[in-house]
Amino acid sequence: MRSLPSQAVFDPASRGADILSELSLVLTIGAAFIFFAVMALAIYAAFSAPRPVDERRWVVGGGVVIPTLVLAVLLIYGLLAGSALSHGEQTKALRVDVIGKLWWWEVRYQAADGSGWIASANELHLPADCIADLRLTSDNVIHSFWIPSLAGKVDMIPGHENRLLLHPTRQGVYRGQCAEYCGDQHARMALDVVVHSPAEFRQWLVRESQPARSGAGDFLLRGKRAFFSGGCATCHTIRGTPARGQLGPDLTHIGSRRTLGAATLENHVGTMAGWIVGVQAIKPGSLMPSMNVYAGDELRALATYLESLE
C-alpha cells in the first residue's frame, strides 16, 4: 500500500501541534477514565441487590460537585492552552497568503526582501524553526485550512482574513485537507506541506521566484506549443511565457510539485497526461474541462513539457 504524508493529530511537527497533541492525549485519557468509572458504577448499580441511597451524596456529590470541579479545571487548562498557542506580533515572520479556491489552494509567498509576491499553488513550503504568518482567505465559498501535524483548523471565509502563525519544528512532508464542506469536490481539496531546513527553504524560495525554465528540445517545444494551442493559457500562468491566465493554479514550477489536482494524484508524466485528458473523470465538477483535444503524442509532449517546469 502506498503511503501518503501524515495527516494525523498525534503526529505533531510544530510548536502549536505539540501543545494540541499533548492536550488531546490528556483529554482522551481523562475521558476514558471517567467513562470506565461511571460504567462500572452503573453496571454495579443495575445488577447488585437493592440498597438504600443517600440522595445528597449521589446527586450532589456525583452529579454536581465532582463534575463542576473537573470541568472548571478543564476549562482553565483549555483556555490557557489556547492562549499558549498565540504568539506575539511577529515582524520577521514569513508572510504567506493562502486563498481557498474551488477546489484548490492559491499560495503566495512574500519575497524575503518584501519586494513582491511569489505565486504558487496546492503546496506549501515552510522553513523549520521559523515562524510563518499565514493569511487565510477565500473569494468564493467557505473552506477550512487544516494541516493536523502543524495546527488546528482555521476557516477561510469570504470577507474575512484569518491569520495563523505556524512554527514548524520538524522537517518533513505533512498532508492537509479542506475541512469545511465546500461543494462538489470538497473531498479532493488537499495539499502537502513541505517543511525544509531554513537554508533549504531559502534556496527553494529563490527557485520558486524565478520564471519558468524549460529544457530545450523539439519534444518540449512541441509540448509548449500544445499548451498554447489548447488554450491552457486562458486560465493558467507560466511566468516567463505569455501564459497569464488567472482562473487556475499557477503552473510556473508545476514539475517540482509533489502532487497534481490539489493532492489528488502523484505528479509525474503519466498522471499529468491522465489529468489533462481526464480531469472530469478524476475530479468531476472542476472548473477545468477534460482536454481531450490532444493526439497521443502531443499529449505526451505537453505532459513532459509541464513536468520539465521545475
Binding site: G16, V64, T68, L71, A72, L75, I76, L79, L80, G82, S83, L85, S86, H87, G88, E89, Q90, D133, A151, G152, V154, G159, H160, E161, N162, R163, L164, L165, L166
Partner: protein, 144 residues
C-alpha cells in the same frame, strides 16, 4: 381542594428561574461587550496591567455572583422555613400545598446554586482575553 391562595404563575416562573436569568444577562452582557470591543477596536487600554475588557468581565461576574448569591440566600431561608410534611403517599391538601412550597423554594435555590457555578465559569473567560487575539494568531481586529 384547599383554600391556600393561588400563586402568581409569572412570579413563580421568575422566582424559580431567577438564577438562570442572571446567567443569561451576564452571558449576553460579557459576550456583547467583548464582541463589540474587538470588532470596533475600543476599550483596548489597560488599567494596572490588566485589560479593560477582562476587568469589565470580572466586574460583571462579581455583580452577577452577588445577585445570584442573594437569590440563593433568600430561597434557602424560605426553604428552611417551609414546614417539612410527611413525604408519603396519602397526605392532606394542606400538606400537599406545603410540599409544593418547599419544592418551589428548593428549585429556586438549586437553580441559583447551579447558575452561580455557570457564572463563575463564564467569568473564567476573562483569562482568555489577549487583546482580541484569535486562534493562534497575533493581535488582530476584523479585516474591514
Amino acid at each position: 381542594m384547599n383554600s391556600h391562595t393561588n400563586r402568581s404563575f409569572t412570579r413563580t416562573t421568575f422566582y424559580i428561574s431567577a438564577g438562570l436569568l442572571i446567567w443569561v444577562a451576564t452571558f449576553l452582557a460579557t459576550y456583547v461587550l467583548a464582541a463589540v470591543a474587538c470588532a470596533r477596536g475600543i476599550l483596548l487600554s489597560t488599567v494596572f496591567g490588566m485589560g479593560l475588557v477582562p476587568l469589565m468581565i470580572l466586574a460583571a461576574t462579581v455583580i452577577a455572583m452577588g445577585l445570584t448569591a442573594r437569590v440563593l440566600y433568600i430561597a434557602i431561608a424560605r426553604y428552611r422555613r417551609s414546614a417539612l410534611p410527611v413525604d408519603a403517599g396519602r397526605t392532606s391538601a394542606i400538606e400537599r400545598s406545603q410540599q409544593m412550597d418547599r419544592f418551589i423554594h428548593f428549585l429556586a435555590a438549586a437553580v441559583a446554586g447551579l447558575s452561580l457555578a455557570a457564572i463563575v465559569l463564564n467569568g473564567t473567560a476573562a483569562i482568555a482575553y489577549d487583546s482580541c487575539r484569535a486562534t493562534g494568531a497575533p493581535d488582530q481586529h476584523r479585516p474591514q
